[in-house]
């Protein structure tokens, strides 16, 4: 579980990339390319290495006019999966 104060960051070698051929956003990582849906791209667009998880949820809730608890669940699952693949670092 991500804690509200946790700060997620993309580590070196992991970056967002717009794939103009397939017309989609992808996350490029060592020897991997992960296709992002709109939600995944929206979450990662707010990850800048300084914002906390709580701040990111707040921004997304305002942007999409959606309940924070839904966004928390989606974002937590998504970020945890990236973390397990070593595509995301989290500092407390």
């Amino acid at each position: 579980m991500m804690q509200p104060g946790d700060i997620p960051a993309l580590p070196r070698g992991v970056r967002l990339h717009y794939d103009a051929i397939r017309e989609t956003w992808v996350l490029l990582a060592p020897e991997r390319a992960v296709t992002l849906d709109g939600i995944g791209h929206a979450i990662l667009s707010e990850v800048d290495g300084t914002r906390s998880f709580a701040e990111i949820i707040d921004l997304l809730a305002k942007k999409f006019n959606a309940p924070a608890e839904h966004i928390t669940k989606d974002s937590d699952d998504f970020l945890q999966a990236l973390r397990l693949r070593r595509f995301l670092e989290v500092s407390p």
Partner: protein, 367 residues
């Protein structure tokens, strides 16, 4: 069937290499240095690849550091918008060169590991002092901060070192390790007696990997290539022929996989002659085994036919002499039992000597 654009390109920049690993995936007939594509041609190919849809570029060889223009090639690939991965033994890289590669925008390094001790690594690589040098290179990689994958190539002689290889990956700060049991193509086919794992070794490796994946979750990602001959289903080779990746040889041939030249009836196009997109979509070799139309039984009616696409074409060729046959690894192949017996025979050849990979001929040497 609509043909997807490729995701990955393996650029074999050179067949030259300081090491001579007996399982090298390079072909027996290697390209000479004077036949290698120059910087400008590779640069054009990188741009064509990006325009075609390639996202991941693997710079390999031979040893890519044997190319003096490696830094320029990395910069060209990044300019084209590609994610750049250097696949290296580390030999030929200095602290200064790694700094220059950092400046050029290199994204990631995959460092090979021939063994976890100097004795093992230097014997397998055929290069004295190679292990020590590699450990120094790993330290520089860590200091610069390149993301690192350790690629441990395992076989009967060194499978007992797997636990130590996992520890080393963690100590080096690698995010990922490839635990790759030798696949028998290229030079490895000459070394089946020396390298074939025993069935018990293969089973033990699978157990160790499963346990390590639990213990190291979130610390180290483990990609595992099991001992193919001891499996019941074949590998989904290249993610499906002509669907995911392509390979460019040092002299410009475009191959669907690195061993495709062993299938003698295939013809290959060159990047010097045709645009990469034409080769990918229309090339005879790419269309030869694309999809499922080429299949015969038991593949044709198999429920797994779009899972593993009948396995490896080059393996069917190497073992059965028929590239259209079901990969004999498959339990449904009539040759599965014979392959397993062959594997056990190879695995029992204690003391078999190594056949080392040769070097490309020089321009002046006769054929």
């Amino acid at each position: 069937m609509s043909i997807p654009p490729p995701i990955a390109m393996l650029a074999e920049l050179t067949h030259r290499c300081p090491l001579s690993c007996p399982y090298c995936s390079n072909p027996i007939e290697m390209a000479r240095q004077d036949q290698e594509l120059d910087t400008d041609t590779w640069t054009r190919v990188f741009h064509e690849a990006a325009a075609l849809g390639v996202l991941q570029l693997h710079l390999s060889g031979g040893e890519p550091a044997s190319r003096r223009d490696l830094e320029a090639l990395v910069r060209a690939a990044r300019d084209a918008g590609l994610y750049t991965n250097l696949i290296t033994s580390g030999i030929g890289l200095t602290e200064k060169r790694l700094g220059a590669l950092d400046g050029a925008g290199l994204d990631h390094v995959q460092l090979s590991l021939q063994g976890t001790s100097p004795e093992m690594a230097d014997e397998i690589g055929g290069y004295k002092g190679g292990f020590k040098r590699k450990m120094q290179v790993a330290e520089w990689i860590g200091q610069i901060g390149f993301p690192l994958t350790l690629n441990a190539v395992l076989h009967r002689r060194n499978l007992h070192q797997l636990p130590r290889a996992l520890e080393m990956a963690v100590e080096m700060g690698a995010r990922r390790i490839e635990v790759a049991t030798v696949q028998f193509h290229g030079w490895a086919l000459k070394n089946r007696d020396a390298f074939m794992p025993t069935r018990d070794q293969a089973r033990e490796a699978t157990r160790i990997v499963a346990q390590a994946r639990k213990e190291l979750a979130g610390v180290l990602v483990i990609d595992y290539v099991p001992a193919d001959y001891h499996e019941d289903y074949p590998k989904r080779c290249m993610g499906g022929w002509g669907t995911t990746g392509l390979n460019v040889t040092p002299d410009g041939l475009v191959l669907p996989c690195h061993a495709a030249q062993t299938i003698k009836h295939l013809t290959f196009d060159r990047v010097q002659d045709k645009p990469l997109a034409d080769i990918w979509y229309q090339g005879a070799a790419f269309n030869a085994y694309r999809g499922t139309g080429w299949m015969a039984e038991p593949c044709k009616s198999c429920e797994r036919k779009t899972i593993d696409f009948g396995g490896c074409r080059c393996q069917a060729m190497a073992i059965l002499g028929d590239p259209n046959a079901t990969d004999p690894v498959c339990i449904k192949s009539p040759h599965h039992g014979a392959l397993q017996a062959t594997a056990d025979t190879h695995a029992s050849q204690a003391g078999a000597s190594l056949v080392y990979r040769a070097q490309p001929r020089r321009a002046t040497e006769p054929l």
